[in-house]
């Protein structure tokens, strides 16, 4: 997030796209509700009539995977009606002309033919966004989990830049991070291309710095990202796997292909707190401590580094992940220092990355500490880019609409999107052991519009088969007014009837992030 969570309540306009905030980020949704109560305008762009649409001024119910068309049409309106913040564009950006040319033909009427959103709604929202100063964009995986996810993000960034919504309180560009420490894991260098603090592995100076600090020669070659790694298992390029704290079999798309791949891997280590499906393929299982059993930090969506503190002992012989990783490093002959506590690990990382150099465990108070925080007396950074874009000039990136990888056809006529519900969490290793979550949502379901149900002779609560080109699972029909006709939605939480058997592992061109949000399926009586 360029801005911070507590700023949301003061916004005058919220543009929520591809985020079911009230289910996936309930506490951020509370801030949004507060803003709306105060009089802020809320625009929700989502194929489903999610809860937030109840209090929204506009709901743009676009077809899944057509975000680029919608967003370029908004840019078309903003440029065409001369609502561009020229001063900001001149002073802080480059390449505006490319986007201007790219959206020239993206009329709202053209977008309506692709997205299904009325042209006048697109115009109204574009005007509202461009003319409101404190207008923030909030998005999450509904934007990124597409084969054109990067284009979606470019389009949003273009809107932010052309209207000068950067570096302004309660505005900005705000991806809401899906998990407790996505931000922190990236920050810490759990990335095939970055060392800690976003220093490129391909940069010889950065490499030299880390080689000196770690006392080992480092590879100059960029590594595989997760999606590539998963595919590489099937191709025999990845032969050994160390998995910490993720049930890859449940979480990655196209489960059957994942199983084939894992079968080809010669050696698998799984380190986790609870039994996972991936453990079926493990040669070694290492029992780990959960978050209440260890110390450390999590970094949230608004770059806020916060403390995690040990409250109880881990069960049996389980150990904290940081201890296990150190033990394993020593077992393979690497002289990992004998850290006595995670704060020493943090200090080592902070010393190697300017963004966190001023952060120590001791400094982190009740409100956390937001990076960039380069020195011990720096107060942290609430809003990014307040003095203009951090890198000097922000670059406009043109994008053009192209359809999703797999579109509905006669055999698989419905578009499936997937996501998280309020009650469960991702692979649900934790929440399937929570009574309330089970009482609310005990098994996998498929939300569909009543037209689609009726056409197939299905009724609410009926057990059905959902099939795609990659697999078939069982689920219960939930007839829902939230859906668009032609679209169905399923949660990804249930290991016995795994939605990811259906999803497509086709990835974004740049990030390889898989298209969890669009694939073609059919639903029929079980």
């Amino acid at each position: 997030m360029t801005n911070s969570i507590p700023e949301i309540r003061d916004a005058d306009m919220l543009f929520v796209i591809g985020s079911n905030t009230s289910e996936a980020h309930p506490i951020i949704a509370m801030e949004m509700k507060r803003a709306v109560r105060r009089g802020a305008k809320l625009v929700v762009a989502d194929p489903r009539a999610i809860w937030l649409t109840k209090i929204a001024d506009h709901h743009l119910q676009l077809k899944p995977g057509t975000d680029v068309a919608l967003l370029t049409a908004m840019a078309h309106v903003i440029i065409g009606e001369d609502l561009v913040d020229r001063e900001f564009v001149t002073k802080h950006t480059e390449n505006f002309e490319a986007v201007r040319d790219a959206v020239r033909d993206a009329t709202p009427e053209w977008a309506e033919s692709i997205t299904g959103v009325p042209a006048d709604d697109i115009r109204a929202v574009a005007r509202l966004y461009a003319t409101t100063k404190k207008a923030g964009i909030y998005y999450t995986l509904g934007i990124t989990e597409h084969t054109h996810g990067t284009d979606n993000v470019y389009c949003l960034a273009n809107l932010v830049l052309m209207t000068g919504h950067l570096g302004v309180r309660s505005a900005g560009m705000n991806p809401l991070r899906g998990q407790n420490n996505v931000q922190g894991a990236n920050d810490a260098g759990a990335s095939p291309v970055f060392y800690p603090g976003y220093q490129r592995v391909s940069d010889p100076a950065a490499r030299a710095r880390f080689e000196a600090a770690w006392g080992a020669p480092l590879s100059p070659d960029e590594g595989m990202n997760l999606n590539v790694m998963m595919k590489a298992m099937g191709q025999g390029k990845i032969r050994g796997l160390y998995v910490m704290g993720e049930d890859i079999l449940l979480s990655e798309p196209n489960t059957s292909k994942m199983e084939e791949g894992l079968n080809k891997v010669e050696f698998v280590v799984v380190q986790d707190i609870l039994p996972t499906e991936t453990m079926r393929f493990a040669d070694v299982v290492l029992p780990a401590a959960c978050f209440v059993e260890k110390d450390g930090v999590f970094t949230n969506s608004d770059r806020r580094v916060q403390r995690v503190r040990k409250a109880v002992e881990p069960p049996g012989e389980a150990k904290a992940d940081w201890e296990i990783l150190c033990d394993l490093a020593r077992a393979v002959g690497y002289p990992m220092p004998h850290y006595t506590a995670p704060r020493e690990v943090y200090a080592e990382m902070a010393a190697l990355s300017d963004k966190f150099a001023g952060i120590t465990h001791e400094r982190i108070g009740a409100m956390g500490l937001q990076w960039p925080c380069p020195t011990p007396d720096h107060p942290g950074t609430v809003t990014l880019h307040e003095d203009g874009p951090l890198k000097g000039k922000a670059t406009f990136m043109p994008a053009f609409y192209r359809p999703s990888e797999e579109l509905p056809d006669d055999a698989y006529p419905l578009v499936l999107s997937t996501g998280r519900t309020l009650y469960h969490y991702n692979a649900a290793t934790q929440t399937l052991r929570a009574k309330g979550a089970l009482a609310k949502q005990p098994e996998n379901f498929v939300e569909m519009h009543r037209y689609d149900a009726r056409k197939r002779g299905l009724h609410d609560g009926q057990r059905v088969r959902v099939a795609s080109r990659r697999g078939e699972i069982e689920a219960v029909v939930a007839v829902s007014p939230r859906m668009r006709p032609g679209c169905v939605w399923m949660p990804l939480h249930f290991p016995d009837q795994l939605t990811n058997r259906l999803t497509n592992d086709a990835g974004d061109v740049v990030t390889s992030t898989a298209e969890y949000k669009v694939c073609a399926v059919e639903v029929r009586a079980g």
């Binding site: 029992p287 969506s301 995690v308």
Partner: protein, 351 residues
């Protein structure tokens, strides 16, 4: 602008209430229905003060400070009012054998205020006429009508903050209670089980069902929730080495402003679940068998080094976790890069 509070001229900002100004300068005014996140309603009448020129006492939580207004927060008249009011609350509240409002494990501000300000006339105990939903099978939120003072903080939270309006004041007069549409269970209502009603309840009428009867820990441990990316701060209550309750730090002090969702507050049953992995395991003859740490680590090291020897370091993949701490992610990539020599390290939420 200045308002006179107990003879002292105090600066205030337009829109501030007398309660806010008085609390800022250290006056102690009791409240039951007041809650920072909610619009003030002046329902409980505990915060009444004297305002010069007003015939009646006025609720300081809704009375706006005005230029030159003369406010008295402590007087015989106010004391008498509070004591009579507390007597009436006590008469309509479950009491212990000393006649004090019952302590239900969690805090009870009514009891605290009776102890601090005393009561007036001894009134006969009223029979309980507020209904509870006996059939409500929700596993998380317990409502104890005996302890309710009908301040409606829970109802207002459900409306103003969570905005799902699952609960409301239902029935009339002495039968008024906290209920749902048709008195259905919470699972069948629009309730999202966030438990905000529990957090704002002054008397413990709303409590967590899983920890019913277990008192809050005297010194809960501040930590960060392990679910989504909001980073809510949580207070972990530990009793006899077990996590018994998760509460939110007070509003205005952390990023979540006193709020939590159903997962953050309640979905911690996994922590002490019997399914937790407790011993290292190594696969022998196709079966995962318990073993020692030493053996598991040696086997893991040998296996991974073997792959590296046969196929090169880039045939190894390291999947780190956005569920683990920053330090652990740092160590995982250090392990991949420095100990094994590959950049094939990524985390699970790479989107």
């Amino acid at each position: 602008m200045k308002v006179i509070i107990d003879g002292e001229a105090v600066d205030f900002e337009l829109g501030e209430t007398v309660l806010e100004v008085a609390q800022r300068v250290g006056r102690s005014i009791p409240t039951l229905c007041h809650e920072k996140r909610l619009d003030p309603v002046g329902a409980c009448r505990m915060c009444l003060v004297e305002v010069q020129g007003q015939r009646r006492l006025q609720p300081s939580c809704t009375w706006k400070a005005t230029e030159g207004a003369v406010i008295t927060t402590q007087s015989q008249r106010i004391d008498t009012h509070r004591q009579v009011l507390l007597s009436m609350y006590v008469a309509d509240h479950a009491v212990d054998d000393q006649g004090l409002p019952k302590q239900r494990g969690v805090g009870n501000q009514l009891r605290d205020q009776v102890l601090e300000y005393g009561t007036g006339p001894q009134l006969p105990q009223l029979p309980l006429r507020r209904a509870v939903r006996e059939h409500d099978a929700n596993p998380y939120i317990h409502f104890d009508a005996e302890a309710c003072v009908l301040c409606a903080a829970c109802v207002r939270y459900c409306d103003e903050v969570e905005a799902v309006n699952a609960i409301a004041l239902v029935e009339r007069g002495g039968r008024t209670t906290i209920g749902t549409a048709d008195q259905q269970g919470l699972l069948d209502s629009s309730c999202e089980l966030c438990g905000g009603c529990i957090a704002v309840c002054p008397t413990g009428a709303m409590t967590e069902r899983p920890s019913l009867g277990i008192p809050p820990a005297p010194e809960p441990i501040r930590s960060t929730c392990n679910f989504c990316g909001v980073g809510c701060q949580v207070d972990l209550h530990v009793t006899d080495g077990r996590l018994t309750r998760v509460t939110s730090p007070p509003p205005g002090t952390t990023v979540n402003d006193g709020n939590l969702c159903v997962k953050g507050r309640f979905a911690s049953e996994f922590v002490h679940h019997p399914d937790r992995l407790q011993t290292p395991m190594v696969r022998r003859n196709g079966v995962l068998e318990p073993t020692t740490w030493e053996d598991a680590l040696q086997t893991a090291a040998k296996g991974l080094l073997g792959v590296k020897r046969r196929h090169g370091a880039d045939a190894l993949g390291f999947v780190s976790s956005s569920r683990c701490t920053g330090e652990e992610n740092y160590l995982m990539q250090k392990l991949a890069r420095a100990a094994f020599g590959t950049n094939n390290c990524h985390q699970c939420a790479a989107t």
